[in-house]
Symmetry: D2
Subunit: 293 residues, 4 copies
Amino acid sequence: MEERPLSRSATLLIYCPDQKGVVAAVSSFLFQHEANILHADQHQDHDLKLFFMRVEWDLTDFNLSADEFRQHFTPLAERFEMDWSIAHAEHRPAMAVFVSQHLHCLVDLLFRYSIGDLNCYIPFIISNHATARELAEFYKIPFHYIPSPDGKEAAGKVAMERAQAELLAHHGVELIVLARYMQVLSPEFVRQYPQRIINVHHSFLPAFTGARPYHAAHQRGVKLIGATSHYVTEELDEGPIIEQDVARVSHRDQIPDLVRMGRDLECRVLSKAVQWHLESRILHYSGKTVVFD
Amino acid sequence: MEERPLSRSATLLIYCPDQKGVVAAVSSFLFQHEANILHADQHQDHDLKLFFMRVEWDLTDFNLSADEFRQHFTPLAERFEMDWSIAHAEHRPAMAVFVSQHLHCLVDLLFRYSIGDLNCYIPFIISNHATARELAEFYKIPFHYIPSPDGKEAAGKVAMERAQAELLAHHGVELIVLARYMQVLSPEFVRQYPQRIINVHHSFLPAFTGARPYHAAHQRGVKLIGATSHYVTEELDEGPIIEQDVARVSHRDQIPDLVRMGRDLECRVLSKAVQWHLESRILHYSGKTVVFD
Amino acid sequence: MEERPLSRSATLLIYCPDQKGVVAAVSSFLFQHEANILHADQHQDHDLKLFFMRVEWDLTDFNLSADEFRQHFTPLAERFEMDWSIAHAEHRPAMAVFVSQHLHCLVDLLFRYSIGDLNCYIPFIISNHATARELAEFYKIPFHYIPSPDGKEAAGKVAMERAQAELLAHHGVELIVLARYMQVLSPEFVRQYPQRIINVHHSFLPAFTGARPYHAAHQRGVKLIGATSHYVTEELDEGPIIEQDVARVSHRDQIPDLVRMGRDLECRVLSKAVQWHLESRILHYSGKTVVFD
Amino acid sequence: MEERPLSRSATLLIYCPDQKGVVAAVSSFLFQHEANILHADQHQDHDLKLFFMRVEWDLTDFNLSADEFRQHFTPLAERFEMDWSIAHAEHRPAMAVFVSQHLHCLVDLLFRYSIGDLNCYIPFIISNHATARELAEFYKIPFHYIPSPDGKEAAGKVAMERAQAELLAHHGVELIVLARYMQVLSPEFVRQYPQRIINVHHSFLPAFTGARPYHAAHQRGVKLIGATSHYVTEELDEGPIIEQDVARVSHRDQIPDLVRMGRDLECRVLSKAVQWHLESRILHYSGKTVVFD
């Protein structure tokens, strides 16, 4: 994560080999520089001998600028072989939303955005359909209609993704949210945004990967349907899971009922994932996530 | 289901092609014979054009004996091509419990049995280990230790199942509950008890079929773990699902935590399935169940 | 419920003293008139000796017009002392929404309305604030700003409710939804819409009635927060409960977190109550509801 | 909490005014003494300006004995005005169980105890009925039948509690679990075990305090029933809540159904509370609990 101007509060995420003294070193460093810690949480994976830490502090009395923090913290980070990032609450990262024709997740995200629940800036919405245009305009967010190519030829897909990538680059987008975007992203595209693309899949993964999961769930006769939000990786529906939820169904529920009930689940798991990502609560390793609460 | 002497209340389960007049015919029949209906529920599968009905009535004023019911109801049933069964609350079917070394589901079932929650009679418990013997004795239920054969040779397995089958036949067992019985039943055995064997699988099926589902769930990094009770069919973990439940887990939960939390889920989904089966609430078709509430 | 032109499907709700033969009489009546039953459900309250029934049928082959139905069904209804109503799916009742400054429930309802999930017609939105005007306009629904009177004097309140009542009467409103409308309705107003006003209260009733329930919940240190949708009666927060839901909270959650998490609960319990009411799934008696699924 | 011999792992619970440098001081202290931290968690109550911390470490390399820990840690604790306690995993505190006639919670706790889920030693079970005697004997735990006095005269009650208190004192009991013990403890008794008595109440507190909560819930027509585990204080049902859970009910569920479904909830919330207390996860303040996960 790039450095940002220091302000109000800052959150540090740390990931390193587990070893004695990490907490002492980090908390002493913060104390020396007058940080007033608001929340701190640690996690150890004893099997893999890894250490994870999230610490958020009030910047009011903190005596390091963003540049000074980097300068002073780097030796400590190197000593413990840390992978680290710092986020400042005042910085609102640019978040792009991709959507197709089903608008429930977009409606949900934009309302949360409008009341200040999501600490980000949405520079634009991209869609392969025009359906969301009016909604985007209502919220005064630029809307880019980039249709899917006819047929399946590679050239059209490449052009489509190039157009998307230009917009993303131009606005310095740090997070992409696929709010029921029904197109598979190419591995090349995904590689450019590692752990920066969040998708919602309308099943309880790993059950019912791929297309039409509600049909598959109905066919199997499950008693609970689910939804899953996850980071997108090159393998479809295999990325690190961020959040999952389920709803009870019965023999009375037909596929349209599952679709309707599933919409609520999808909104919930996607909005939580987005919020947690924006609050720097998520670390990922070995195909899994640590979500600090 | 075999006929039983009529008493206090009776429950009729019906399954037939969907057509006009079934409810009218059945309810008029019951009314003519002075049944006082306690609960009635219907279900239509519009895709498959099937009709399902469960009706429970007080036998106090009912003017048909069990034999007379069969005699008078059969023409009606034939007219609508019904698959039907009747159960009388006074008849407590024989239910055998199979268990291995993990006793939580057994402890749970036996306590419910002891306070009268399960409308059945448990003639014996079978196990391939001796672990459950004392518990069985505490509840004064005969315990049969039938060990698994050494190695995987077919002959031992055949002998083991023959010993089990003899006990089942001798006691007229109508329902077999696999309360964490860690042996795969042979197709020949399963075929003898169609929709009469209930198993609990420690995952949210169809995710994580097979062995060590908690390990697989931990490996995949899911945020909810589950358990599933289902009728056993010849294909492992593929039988009609009766009940499922989940519990939330986090990155803090290691495999022993999942195992511990899963125990509670397993008890819950298994005991509900057993109770519903014993209350004649379950119909099955096309690999799915209808569970009347 | 007033009679409506018969069409596609019809739903009959019945409430009467429990007695033998009701189901037989109703189902035979429907069969005689060529109804193709889609769903049927009954319930008995054995303590109070009451019978409840909901039956929905396809009107394609049904040989009675709305008027004829009333004419032919009335003798049967009188025989069993039924309180009954019939609703036709084609009739979309007028539903008014009242809202104040918190718009989450309104956003949720209007989106569901826009995609056809709610079988109703929304002639207008009333608010004592202007906050919702743009949202109403986006969905092309007339918006009436009827401010609360200054102070607490009775005259202003009376005038306010008179203005509301005129709008309701003019549009033949059959259901009023209080989507976080932060004004207490007068008993006179409520009496005009018995079981026709649905409210959402942001607690798990009967815990935390009255104002600021999230503050009270936080103060008490509960581990789950809740929301409740209910019919409005003259006694505040005492009406028949339609739906409730809860979310887990921890010591980390401060009041703003409870408010944020509660919003999702409120949307869920209110939208379900509205949908069920519009699908004629709810009967009420003795201060409780029967919700047919 | 009294000091215990240091062994395998230790858990420190801290509660003090919030101020800069607490985490740094504690983690540096532990690091200096070669502690290998297994889990650490902090919490701040910003309104009340309080700080809470739980830290668990492996004792393998730790270079302080229990006495030395106390000696060296005390100055630091005094500097930050800490209320603190340390628990060593090897020490299994004595936990007494009180029960009346409903045995489900006792069955549940004893099974968990038997498989090692509860880090405690149960020296005896006390009951005002003989119902649990056989169960206690099965688990080889001494059973003391101390009947309730006839009538309500104070003398009998005093004698009853004196008998209980002697047993508790004799065995050095540190935690009392009321596993559906249907007697109200006197304020004098409660005062002797501050935050050392855990009760389960069969409702979602603060709804339905007092006797017969399932009847009250049924009467009110709630759609979810609940159960609550809490520390016992002198005011009935007003102690700090530790855990709550709910189950969905419908109009079909009569009081015996609520009682049956409630049993599962009661087992769950009570066993979690007991486990968390024994794992030193709970701090309490202002009538609330902090439960570290």
